[in-house]
Every structure is written in structure tokens, then in C-alpha cells.
Assembly symmetry: C2
Amino acid sequence: MWILSAPSGSASMSVVTLALTVLTSSQAILIVWSKRAGKYEYSVTTANFMVETLKCALSLAALTRIWRSEGVTEDNRLNTTLDEVIVFPIPAALYLVKNLLQYYIFAYVDAPGYQILKNLNIISTGVLYRIILKKKLSEIQWAAFILLCAGCTTAQLKSNSDHVLQTPFQGWVMAIVMALLSGFAGVYTEAIIKKRPTRNINVQNFWLYIFGMIFNAAAILVQDFDAVMNKGFFHGYSFITVLMILNHALSGIAVSMVMKYADNIVKVYSTSVAMLLTALVSVFLFGFDLSLAFFLGSTVVSVAVYLHSAGKLQR
Amino acid sequence: MWILSAPSGSASMSVVTLALTVLTSSQAILIVWSKRAGKYEYSVTTANFMVETLKCALSLAALTRIWRSEGVTEDNRLNTTLDEVIVFPIPAALYLVKNLLQYYIFAYVDAPGYQILKNLNIISTGVLYRIILKKKLSEIQWAAFILLCAGCTTAQLKSNSDHVLQTPFQGWVMAIVMALLSGFAGVYTEAIIKKRPTRNINVQNFWLYIFGMIFNAAAILVQDFDAVMNKGFFHGYSFITVLMILNHALSGIAVSMVMKYADNIVKVYSTSVAMLLTALVSVFLFGFDLSLAFFLGSTVVSVAVYLHSAGKLQR
């Protein structure tokens, strides 16, 4: 449970960033593993609800420990004000809109094309980070960010990736809107969490996840109400499903920690490196082939990571 | 003939670099054009000889003008010493060995694979530039150089480029040896030209090209003696052949100018950018398709060019 205790130094920050990277990459590997083992019949909405519930429970557990050792203070009490809590549903709502759009974009783009277009998230996060949080990146860091996007896309190139250039205009618009929504949700979460720097992160998480539970409960009612009523809430759950829920919950908490103690830029870098690690580990676990494009993309991403920290010194 | 007058300021240097870029890209376009117009039956060795002869003549023409305006001085007289001239055959000899190896490497790699492996030249030039000329690049500039290599390779990726990863060990060794020879020849030429900074570049070129003529005359004797004897020296020459010879001669002189007033790093950047320009122009001239890989590679190369100059400020 070290991940739930607030890290203070930059060493702890590195640990959280590393945790996010490892959790994100094992996430993708779990998905591949679950697909390999056969299609699972669980409903995705109930699993999402369980992830939010678990995150809520873990935040409460951490808070209980803190209350016992430090006592209840202004910063760690669970009570909140309307002024504090009113903004918490917004990221959850943004993600919901994005997920709805996701159903429609597949009319214009296929799944591998969508994977490529998702790298627009990197650019949108950088731009919104600059505009909304008004934080500056050095010119070298901007260059690194463009490289991160180009490198990730290169690493994902397949022989038929050029199809994505034939995406119709509506597809591009939806992809850009989705990238903006996802970037905005991330940057907005960071703004909410950082607005009260002394407020305990577990309280902030608790409220974020409460709204996550509400939105996902609504999704169950809309999408899977009949299935849940007829087959039961946990129908089709397996050991891997439980592992995936656990993993999503822990990486969700790691993302919050990165938002509190670092920023969205660090988040984008660690999830990008995670994507590359996933591909590497998959080679050993599942015998996937590494392409020249993957090798070139990884090189560019590695240089981008180096430049992001080298660029700091210039400020 | 502006290209033949020694540029003094950095503005003139930019002009020479731009000239090299434009000449190199039009070179490739002329080759595509000549292939499209039908196969030409001229012998490559006589064309190479004509290029060296033309470069020699242009250098002499420039020298005559200089002698008339400035008079003959220690720095612009054509006479040379054994000490000065003894090193001039070495680059020509290195290129000859490299060209001989080129026949053998195709036993292990196909032509598109060879195009990919040729990007090793970028790395070998950087490394030899550092070791032999003992000049330093900043860390940002090294990062930029790695990006240049990765970006150029990405831009050239085709759907079957992964074949190159199956290159047998001998093929890799030959590709690396060829990259080292080509990098060494470039760096060595720079060292020769810069050893006497006040010596007129046209005199230095004259002696370089004299040895070029000698080596190419030997190549005619070995490879095309019968063809030249039976069909004549200029058999199969057309308007495009003449244009290509003119282009090669002018870009050869531009390379020398870049070596004298800038360095091999600038040369590598301008020929890389030329490669991308060629592809862009080919889209309009010949209706080629631009791939996503080309777009990503060009982005990475552009960022590399920016970082190379941004990296200078840090010194």
C-alpha cells in the first residue's frame, strides 16, 4: 500500500511514475492474455464500476490509516464543501462523452487506425496543459513532445497503417475532438487536484471516484441492465477479470498521484514508455515480432525522454 | 558561377548549403526522370570521368578569374608540394573500395534494404567526425544526430522494409564497413581541406579532382574498355545525361565548399533534407504516394534540424 501514502521527495515521485509505467504496461499484457485465453463474457460496465468502487475503498483505507496516525485535520477530513466538490464530476463527464464518441468513430476508422489516431492525445494534452494550466515547457521540451508523438506512432506502424491517411473528414474531426476531450479531462483533473495543494490526495481521490461510481452505475443501467438482471452482476468474471480490475484500480490511483505530485506531461511520458515496454514484453511472452518501425519509434521516444529532462536545465 | 567564389560570411555559407540541398534533390529527380524516359545506354564510368573532368575545368576557370583580379599568390597558385598533395588520392581511393564493396553487398541485401542500411552513414560520419577531427557536438546535438538517422530511416520505410532485419551477419558487417569507409572519406576530405585554411579552395578542389579523374580513368579501363573502344566514349549520351553530369559536378563542388566553410555534419543534414525534398517533389512530378511513415520521418528530421541549431546555444 506504499502507493497510497503521499510521496514527498522526488525519489518517491520517481517510484510513483515507475509504478504507473509498470501498471500500464501490465494492463495491456493482461488484455492480450485475456483475449488469448478466450473471449470473456463479463460486462465491461460492471467491471468499470468495480474499478471505481475498489479505488474508492482503497482511498478510504488509506485515509483510515492516516486519521489513526495523524488525527483528523482540515486537510484530511472527508467532509467537503460544494465549492470544492462541484468540479469533481466534470472529468468523469468528459470521459463519458469521449467513450460515447468512441462508438461512432469506428464508422470511419478501423481499430488499428484508431490506435494510431489516439496518439493525437499526446499533442492535445501538451497544448491544453500549456493553455489551461498556463505552465511553460522550454522549446527543447516542446520539440521532445512532438518527437514523443511521432515516435509512438512510428512504433505502432503496421504494413497497412497508411489506410489511416484515407480517414474521411468526419473521422478526423471526431478523432481530434476525442483527443481534446481526453486531454481536457486529464488537464482538468490536474487543475482540480492541484487547486488545493495541502488537501490530502486520498480525499480528493475519494470524491473523484464517487462520481466515477455514479457515472458508471448510470452506464450499467443504460447499457447492461437486462444482462445484469438476467445473468447476475458478476456473470463471466474470472481470475483474469479480477486481476484486470485490480490493475486498473491501482493504475488509476497512480495516475492521480502523478497528477498531484508531477503533471500530465510526466503522465503522458510514462504511459508512452509503458506502451513500448508492453510490446517488448509481448515479444517474450507471446512470440510477437519486433518490426524495424518499432525499433525506430522506440529510439525516437527514448531520445524524447532524454530531451524532456535535458530541456529542463535551460530554463 | 557564384558557387565558385569563396563565400566569406555565414549568409554565403547558407547559400552554399542551400545549393547543396537543391542540387542533391534535383540529382535524385533527374535519376528518376532518366529511368522514366527509358533506360540509357551510356557507360557509368565515362559519365563519372566526365563529372571529375568538368569539376576540374570549373575549378580552373574560377582560378583564372581569381588570378586576373588578385594576382597569383602563395595561397592561390596551382603549384603544390608533395607534402600537400600526397593525401589527396586517399578520399578517392576510399570511395573506390566502397564502390567495389557495393557489388558484393547485393548478395546479402536487396536494393531497398541497402537504401535503409545506407543511413548508417549518418552515424559513422558523426562518430568519425568526433574521433578524427576531434570536434565536439553538444549532447543535444548528438541526440539530434540520432534522430536524423532514425527519421531518415523512418521516412524510407516501405511495407517490406522489415526484410532488412533478416540481413545475414556478413551483410551487416559489409554495411558497417561501407558506412565507415564513406564516413571516413568525408571526414578525411574535410581534414585535408581545412588543414590549410588560407589555401584557395579551387586549388584544393583541382588536386582532389585530378585524382578523381585518374581513378575514374582506371575504372573505364577495367570495366568498360571494350564498350568504349567499339561504340565510342559518348555512346548513349542524351540531354538528360548531360544534365546529370552537370548536376553531379556542381553538387560535388558544393560539397567541397561545405567541407571548407562548414563541416561534414552540415553536409549530412543538407543531404538528408534533400532526400525528403526529393520525395515531396516526386509526389507532384510523378504522382508518388506519401506514406504515414514518410510524414513521421520528416517530422523527426525537421525536429532534428531544429535541435542541431538550438543545441549550439548551450555550448
